[in-house]
Subunit: 341 residues, 2 copies
DNA sequence: TTTCAACACGAAAACGTTTTCGCGAGCTAT
DNA sequence: ATAGCTCGCGAAAACGTTTTCGTGTTGAAA
């Protein structure tokens, strides 16, 4: 087993000082060509690579970005990570991923764990529980310690930092407006409970679209799902009791479930009922019928978030407290689950 | 901005030595209760937390696991990460994720980057390109340096280390055997090119099942997909020209695509043709009809891999070269895409 | 011959820990 | 009174780097 070789060992072998070795490898002009070449040859032979940990300690920079997200088994989050990783890689950064599992405590623990020197900054999306408690002291804490944080998707106004979001309200508005344009009048909404920020915003967009088209909002047509487990019954009730002609769902799980339940009740999508989802994930693309949806462009979101974080890290000198909120454009992808009335 | 406080700063403030502070915080009996409590109170006040990087350097342990996978936007890999993260967390480890993007070069770069002190060991699944080139020197290299490596799913016999796999051949055998039991005779196979190890194994299982049931293997019924882009035409040809009564697909993308194309050609699944996929991902669960499939249990795979790696890390003393290959059991999930003939 | 610059290199500090060892003060026992 | 022991603490090394500064040797200029 050939353990990694250090500067000290090279120095000893070649009978020079550690400084000389270090300088040689960094092509310092202080070192004679003779020595320099000798050292470089030796280093190459033994495959010397500087130890990252030592460098991190010395430079007070880890070149590592911490990502904290609710869960990874979720296509949208996976795409965001993918985007972050691209930009991180292009800039010589690594990413370390922690999952909060939608738990406030885990979010805090992970954050504190990584804040002790492991990362230079964070990119995160809030857990449900955190959004519910509205407790963001842990995030404020790391910001106060001088670590940049970028929030994405599930953000909050209560903490000042860079953010990357989509215009959830506008996107929902567009989707519902599209349905109205196609001639639908009785449009139901399947959304989340209000404390999930994006759910709330999409609900707002839905209502706004109806109002601006002079359709009154019927609360009977709106169902709010708490947890995914028992959503089926609620949706079934909706479909059976209200004979709506279209459904807007705030995520693709709700959308595909609605489609399945419609089929079960002998309603064909899109002939009998049109459905639009949110998030252009695997489900929307591959289900039958494929689902018209609002594309969030997770890759772009991740890339943007990473770029903002790295910019702030490399700026570094004086930190301007001028935080930005970037809005990633969405677009409506029309597929088979919608038609014209 | 309250920067993180260090031992040195505490020592200075309290006018004691660094050693005294360190020992106090670690409840050393060498320190009088007076001093100990004083230091602890002060440390708590200033929210002292030891710097991970410094600890890593000192202990020569990072408590970090490197994960290198082909891509993260892939439900199976996401579940594996999820499983790894669970066990890592339970044991006080962090995970740092790198994506090879199916590229050999990126795999090498990532591996070398992380091998320079950033992680204690690796969990990885080979990129397609790596499997094609059959070049594993980079992996052997880090193993030689004394870093444990656990390979999962896409593994190779050419490198000696711990592995976690499913019995791909057996699982495929079971799936095809199930189809035969249901009365199907003309069973097609949609698989990958042979250098993808798991694709090859599943193909073998398919053939074995046919033979053991005295059905001859018809190469016309087997199509091998190189890249996902142009799989549709090949599958369409298959469905049109061979009137098979069932299809076994080696992943869920192939399966769902087959179903879509069947529908396009006025063949109903499962009435006209039965389909079994591989990988119990989002698609299989939510497509219509839902897809019968072989469940790989990614979470379990990830948990097992992490446990094996950590065991080896904590064993540490003498490394027994006795590498194990764990096999995660699979199970056939029967849903709507299959029926009886 | 003296002076001074250039050259080539080494010593040491610094990053933040933990841990071993040593040392002085105070006490007990002979 | 003195040896020896315990207690409480500090100095220093170690992990692997980079970088500043100092220093000795050499050669050339005055």
């Amino acid at each position: 087993m050939r353990k990694k070789v250090t500067l000290k060992q090279i120095a000893k072998e070649l009978d020079v000082s550690i400084s000389t070795v270090s300088k040689s490898l960094r092509d310092s002009h202080e070192i004679s060509e003779d020595t320099r070449l000798k050292v470089q040859a030796f280093a190459k032979l033994y495959n010397y690579k500087p130890n990252n940990i030592a460098l991190s300690l010395k430079n007070k920079k880890t070149k590592t970005i911490g990502i904290i997200i609710p869960e990874i088994v979720h296509h949208f989050f996976a795409t965001v990570i993918s985007g972050i990783e691209q930009v991180a890689n292009e800039n010589g950064y690594n990413v370390i991923v922690c999952l909060s599992d939608e738990s406030f405590d885990k979010e805090v623990i992970n954050l504190e764990m990584l804040a002790n020197g492991s990362t230079d900054g964070f990119i995160m999306s809030l857990s449900k529980e955190t959004q519910q408690k509205r407790d963001f002291h842990h995030i404020q804490e790391v910001i106060n310690q001088g670590m940049p944080v970028v929030l994405f998707d599930r953000v909050t106004n209560d903490v000042f930092c860079d953010k990357v979001i989509i215009d959830d309200k506008q996107a929902a508005f567009d989707a519902v407006h599209f349905l109205i344009e196609q001639g639908f009048k009785k449009i139901a909404l399947i959304t989340t409970v209000d404390y999930v920020s994006v759910g709330k915003l999409r609900t707002d967009g839905y209502k706004k679209a109806l109002k601006s088209n002079n359709i009154s909002v019927d609360e009977e047509l709106i169902i709010k799902i708490e947890d995914i487990e028992n959503c089926a019954v609620k949706i079934e009730n909706l479909i059976k009791e209200q004979n709506c002609d279209a459904i807007f769902a705030v995520n693709e799980l709700f959308a595909v479930t609605a489609i399945k339940i419609a089929a079960k009740n002998n309603l064909k999508v899109p002939d009998d009922i049109s459905v639009i989802g949110f998030t252009d994930g695997i489900i929307s693309q591959f289900s039958t019928p494929s689902i018209s949806t609002v594309s969030q462009n997770g890759i772009k979101m991740g890339r943007k978030a990473a770029q903002m974080l790295i910019d702030r890290l490399e700026l570094e000198d004086e930190e301007d407290e001028h935080y930005k909120t970037e809005i990633i454009e969405t677009n409506l992808i029309v597929r088979e689950s919608t038609t014209t009335k």
